[in-house]
């Protein structure tokens, strides 16, 4: 057990079995095994969600067909915020416990988060043109979402600018934690300032104000995005593990076994 632990893991962690998979070496094959399930789930759910969104859901009375963007826009916007929080969580774990895998997870999540943020912005802009008559307005939610994109990009840029991977993990981790303040701002911006953008219409407490099919479509799409995000992060973390551990014996053995 101890032999498989990263040498710089916190000594306290070595005794805990629950942290077994915080070792890159044990996590690598596990990630490889579960990855295909998530990938397939993403494909299947995505197909179902898009079918509901574009064929089952009724045309909107006010907005016509344009509103169908909602099935991508809203789940993407949710994911963009959620992934950031998860990324910051892993970054914090990495900073506090000095576990390498947590920092690798944070690094692996960033591009996916940036992708969803970009998607939310892009679909939002596409939607804004017919509904508000402008691609872009400087409203609080839109601005804070744009800032979220820049935070993701800044995280990626800072990480790649620092050569020493350990230092890069730590510095980028600090940045990720600083950026967390932006997430509640995005989420509550429509409540705190009255803006052009739609307020929350889905909440856990109140009754949904949307048609059930629309809600179902959005929920399925959100699930699909979830699965995709997990699959992409796992795939990326696997390659990060190989790259970082290329000096170690187990990677050499693994490479030999592939031949």
């Amino acid at each position: 057990m101890t032999a498989t632990m990263p040498p710089n893991a916190n000594p306290g962690l070595r005794r805990l079995n629950a942290f077994r998979f915080s070792s890159p070496q044990t996590f690598y094959p596990l990630a490889g095994k579960i990855l295909p399930y998530f990938a397939w789930a993403a494909v299947v759910l995505g197909a179902i969600g898009l079918y509901i969104g574009f064929f089952v859901a009724p045309t909107d009375a006010q907005q016509g067909e344009a509103y169908r963007i909602i099935f991508i826009h809203v789940p993407a916007a949710w994911m963009s915020m959620f992934i950031y929080v998860v990324m910051a969580f892993w970054a914090a774990m990495g900073l506090v416990f000095n576990t390498r895998l947590s920092a690798m997870m944070a690094t692996a999540l960033a591009p996916t988060g940036a992708l969803f943020t970009f998607l939310a912005l892009w679909t939002g802009a596409l939607w804004g043109k017919p509904t508000w008559g402008a691609w872009w307005v400087w409203d609080a939610r839109l601005t804070s979402e744009l800032i979220l994109l820049f935070l993701y990009l800044g995280f990626i840029a800072l990480h790649s600018a620092i050569e020493d991977p350990r230092r890069a993990d730590k510095a980028a981790g600090v940045l990720a934690l600083v950026g967390v303040v932006n997430v509640p701002i995005i989420y509550f911006s429509v409540k705190w300032w009255n803006t052009l953008h739609q307020g929350a219409s889905v909440s856990l407490t109140g009754a949904p104000t949307m048609a059930a099919t629309m809600l179902a479509g959005m929920a399925v799409m959100a699930l699909a995005f979830w699965m995709y995000a997990i699959a992409a992060a796992l795939a990326r973390v696997r390659s990060i593990i190989l790259e970082r551990e290329r000096q170690s014996d187990w990677v050499h053995e693994y490479a030999r076994s592939l031949k």
Binding site: T143, I147, R167, A171, V178, V181
Partner: protein, 222 residues
Amino acid sequence: MIKTLRLVIHRDLLLALRRRADVANSLLFFVIVVSLFPFGVGPEASLLRAIAPGVLWVAALLAAMLALARMFAADYADGTLEQMLLAPAPLTVVVLGKIVAHWLLTGLPLVALSPVLALQFDVPADAIGVLVASLALGTPVLSLIGAIGAALTLGVRGAGVLTALLVLPLYIPVLILGAGAVDAAAAGLDASAHLMLLGALLLGAAACALWPVAAALRIAVE
């Protein structure tokens, strides 16, 4: 602790006194940016008045951003930063001292000079008051947020761009609120909501910025 704070501020002001030109630097940059516009845009008064709040705030933001490079880099290069990390006082106090000194040297002069420049652009008197207030509340936020970017990119290849990339998105709200306040005042509206938000930003930044800066400095020196 107060002693260390005073020491750090005193040291940075003394250094600035020795290199007076360095302080003049960001002030001069501010003045240059603002004054070049009439050359570029042409001398039409109404046009100039319309863009004045934007030009002044953009110039202040750029001046603050460029001054960030000087915040920790020199101390990092000559080994003083290591000594600060090894000092018995908590690092956050040292950081606070450096940020305060930085604002005194780069933010305060802008605030003080802005009315004169605003007059050039024929900004109405009420709006000038709001301009000064918005800069007085906004420039410390720029220094606080900027310190995080400056510390994170210390000793990194191409630190300049990276700092800009990290810091600018966080600066945009300050710019929108600041220029918005002046615009509102120039249009005869009430600017106090904008100013209150700026004040809230300042409090938030002061409460949250010191820890990440200290952490980033520790990482940079490793």
